[in-house]
């Protein structure tokens, strides 16, 4: 069944997901949404890895990396949200533009 879907389709999906994520990361003024965008980017990469694993390089490597990234993403989300919360406590905002104390 899956063999009927060519690799390109899946790659289109992941590319779209990647650029949606990138767009979101670049335009949003809210750290939570930016974080979500980053998750989108990571997931697009995951899709890529799984797809390549399935179509081009049928070993365990791709899946392992995907799992690895998922774990990292979870940890990253936890750390990032912790940072965001402390930032909010400090400056009452989660706009990255407002956090400029260390600038220059």
């Amino acid at each position: 069944m899956i063999d009927q879907i060519p690799l390109t389709h899946i790659l289109f999906l992941s590319t779209a997901l990647f650029f949606i994520g990138a767009y979101g990361f670049l335009t949003r003024r809210n750290l939570i949404t930016m974080l979500m965008s980053v998750e989108l980017i990571l997931n697009s990469v995951n899709i890529n890895l799984v797809a390549f694993n399935r179509y081009l390089h049928p070993t365990i490597d791709g899946v392992v990396f995907t799992l690895f990234i998922i774990t990292i993403a979870a940890a990253e989300a936890a750390v990032a949200i912790a940072i965001i919360i402390s930032l909010y406590r400090k400056i009452n905002s989660i706009d990255p533009e407002q956090a400029d104390e260390l600038k220059f």
Partner: protein, 647 residues
């Protein structure tokens, strides 16, 4: 008797005394230190005299000459095979003679200082410095190695520095000490480079080996030293000349004499010991030590040394006629007499009767030590009595201080060369030697002898006659000539000044160790003694009673008089050179260069870096999304490039 342990005791006793006083005596035995020091030194002096007796009369001559004995030699620092600084002892006629002179005069000064320095706050320190000096001077005298000599040479310089600056809260004393040290240090630079040159060519620092290698013309060392040269003069001559510069500095020869008169800021007994009898003759001793090399390998240089000696002698004598500070007159007279000794070396050649200048020079060194030390100690007593160095504060002292007066008179007669006092014999020999070998030097020396008699008697009359003594310090009326410990050394030295002439120097100390028979020249004697008597008579007329004859004479030659009074403006010239050229030009330039150029380059580099970073700072906007955008387009750009170049 002539073994290493006995000989080592002679210099080591004063050293131990120095250490003892510095670390223990100064704190716990502040007044007893002097006595300890005197006792220690009398042992040293006794040993030295015993050594001299043994050397000359017990061991005596082997094969008709007094041979050099080296009882001890320890390697102290090795530079390369064969070239090392050894700490050794050499015993030969001149070193034995110097041992006696140094320990004896030092002992006299030690005893004298018990009275003179009594009650000084740093009494113990004074003795420790005195002992340090004695140790260094003995080390210098006994040195068997050229670098060992330099070692003690420098130590002697420092002890002199410490003693001149003994009254260290007095700015003039500090300045004088500094000046003495720096001028001699400058001269020592010559000595050092001279050592480098000589050792480079001879491959040794040992004095005897050095002499052996550089006086026989068939050695490779001699060939290398005379073959290479600089400005048409062989390296050997350069080396010897440079070594002599060191000697000239220590011996205050023209034009490096400027430090000695100022050195009179030190306590007077110190002047007697260091700046009259011992340290200042180190230059003469140095030339005498290397005499075979000078005489055989570089006779023209030796002649030049003779001229330098006689020029210093006459210049110093002229200046001495105009000075009014009792110690300065004596200081100039010292320069003049040392000049005499060097002139005498300059007219000598190696060996036999032609070497009589050498013996005469050593003889004069010996007698001079006694009468000059005596003069200084007398001057010390006078200064102690009147609390002033200026002759105008003195006069008529002969009744107040009869012993000092007698001693001073005899010393003056000795230095003037009146028979049968010691100075007569040594001066006689110098004049005879000069007459035989160099007529120019002879006539200048003869004139100088006259000048010497004149200024010495000028000083004598101004101090002890001239007018009645008026005491300006009523409170000090009670004190007399000084305590016994001040008078005793005067009397002992007086015996020396009177009788030292009987020592048969031409039998004991000659250029090649072989005794010779000296000839007596009646005509020279008559000339010299006649001139001296004439000069004494003139001095008597001018200065015995207060009159204005001398003022008349001096104002009639006022320009010359002023010129001499200002010491021929040597100080001013040096002042100009050091202050203007060294400090204000080179020093200031270096300092400026360092502050502005070297440091400037570093600071400019820092400034440029900072300015550059200031310029590119705005790129770091702190806007995270901006960075991400740049990052994204950067990646895209890279991908595009990769595609474009078809990697």
């Amino acid at each position: 008797m002539l073994n290493a342990s006995t000989l080592l005791l002679i210099p080591l006793l004063p050293l131990l005394s120095f250490l003892f006083i510095s670390f223990i005596g100064k704190k716990y035995l502040p007044t007893l230190s002097g006595t300890i020091s005197v006792l220690v030194l009398s042992v040293s002096a006794f040993l030295a005299i015993a050594v001299a007796y043994n050397y000359f009369f017990v061991v005596g001559m082997t094969n008709g000459i007094y041979e050099a004995i080296i009882p001890m030699k320890l390697e102290w620092l090795r530079f390369s095979p064969g070239v090392s600084i050894d700490m050794g002892i050499i015993l030969d006629p001149i070193s034995v003679m110097m041992l006696v002179v140094v320990t004896f005069i030092s002992l006299m000064v030690h005893i004298y200082s018990l009275g003179y320095m009594k009650g000084e706050e740093r009494f113990a320190v004074y003795y420790s410095f005195l002992d340090l000096f004695t140790f260094s001077m003995l080390g210098l005298v006994m040195a068997s190695n050229l670098f060992q000599m330099y070692f003690f040479w420098e130590l002697v310089g420092v002890s002199s520095y410490l003693l001149i600056g003994y009254y260290f809260t007095k700015p003039s004393a500090v300045a004088a000490a500094k000046k003495a040290f720096i001028v001699t240090r400058f001269a020592d630079l010559g000595f050092l480079i001279g050592i480098l040159v000589l050792s480079f060519h001879s491959g040794t620092l040992d004095i005897q080996t050095l002499i052996a290698r550089l006086t026989t013309s068939d050695t490779t060392f001699y060939a290398s030293a005379t073959f290479t040269g600089f400005m048409g003069v062989s390296s050997l001559t350069w080396g010897l000349a440079l070594v002599f510069i060191g000697g000239a500095g220590k011996s205050a020869m023209f034009p490096l004499h400027i430090w000695l008169p100022d050195a009179m800021e030190g306590p007077t007994p110190v002047s007697a010991l260091i700046h009259a009898a011992t340290m200042v003759v180190a230059g003469v001793y140095l030339v005498a030590r290397l005499f075979p090399i000078y005489a055989i390998s570089s006779p023209h240089l030796l002649e030049l040394i003779g001229y330098i000696g006689i020029i210093s002698s006459v210049l110093a004598a002229i200046i001495a006629c105009t000075q009014t500070d009792i110690k300065r007159v004596l200081a100039y007279s010292t320069i003049s007499q040392i000049g005499y000794m060097l002139a005498s070396l300059g007219v000598s050649t190696y060996g036999g009767l032609n070497g009589e200048g050498f013996s005469a020079s050593m003889f004069h060194l010996f007698t001079h030590a006694f009468f000059k030390a005596l003069l200084f100690l007398c001057a010390g007593s006078v200064i102690h009595y009147v609390h002033s160095n200026e002759v105008k504060d003195m006069g008529g002292l002969r009744k107040k201080m009869p012993i000092t007066h007698l001693c001073f008179l005899l010393a003056c007669l000795a230095i003037a060369g009146i028979p049968p006092l010691s100075g007569f014999f040594s001066k006689e020999e110098i004049l005879a030697a000069a007459f035989a070998h160099n007529q120019t030097i002879f006539y200048i020396a003869w004139l100088t002898a006259g000048l010497t008699s004149f200024y010495m008697f000028r000083l004598y009359f101004l101090t002890f006659w001239n007018k009645d003594y008026v005491n300006h310090h009523e409170s000090h009326e009670h004190h007399s000539e000084g305590s016994w410990n001040m008078k005793l050394p005067l009397l002992i030295l007086m015996l020396g000044a009177v009788g030292a002439g009987v020592v048969p120097f031409h039998h004991l100390i000659t250029s090649d160790g072989q005794p010779y028979e000296s000839e007596f020249h009646l005509n020279i004697t008559l000339m010299a003694v006649g001139l001296s008597l004439f000069a004494i008579i003139i001095a008597t007329i001018f200065y015995r009673k207060k009159n204005n004859l001398s003022d008349k004479i001096s104002s009639s030659i006022s320009q010359l008089y002023d010129f001499a009074y200002h010491k021929f403006y040597f100080d001013e010239v040096y002042q100009f050179v050091t202050q203007r050229i060294l400090f204000n030009t080179i020093g200031a330039l270096s300092s400026w260069f360092d502050k502005n150029i070297v440091n400037g380059v570093v600071n400019t580099t820092a400034f440029i870096t900072e300015a550059f970073s200031e310029t590119i700072k705005p790129v770091q906007s702190g806007k995270v999304q901006g960075y991400a955008l740049a990052f994204l387009f950067g990646i895209l750009g890279l991908i595009a490039i990769l595609f474009f170049f078809n990697f």
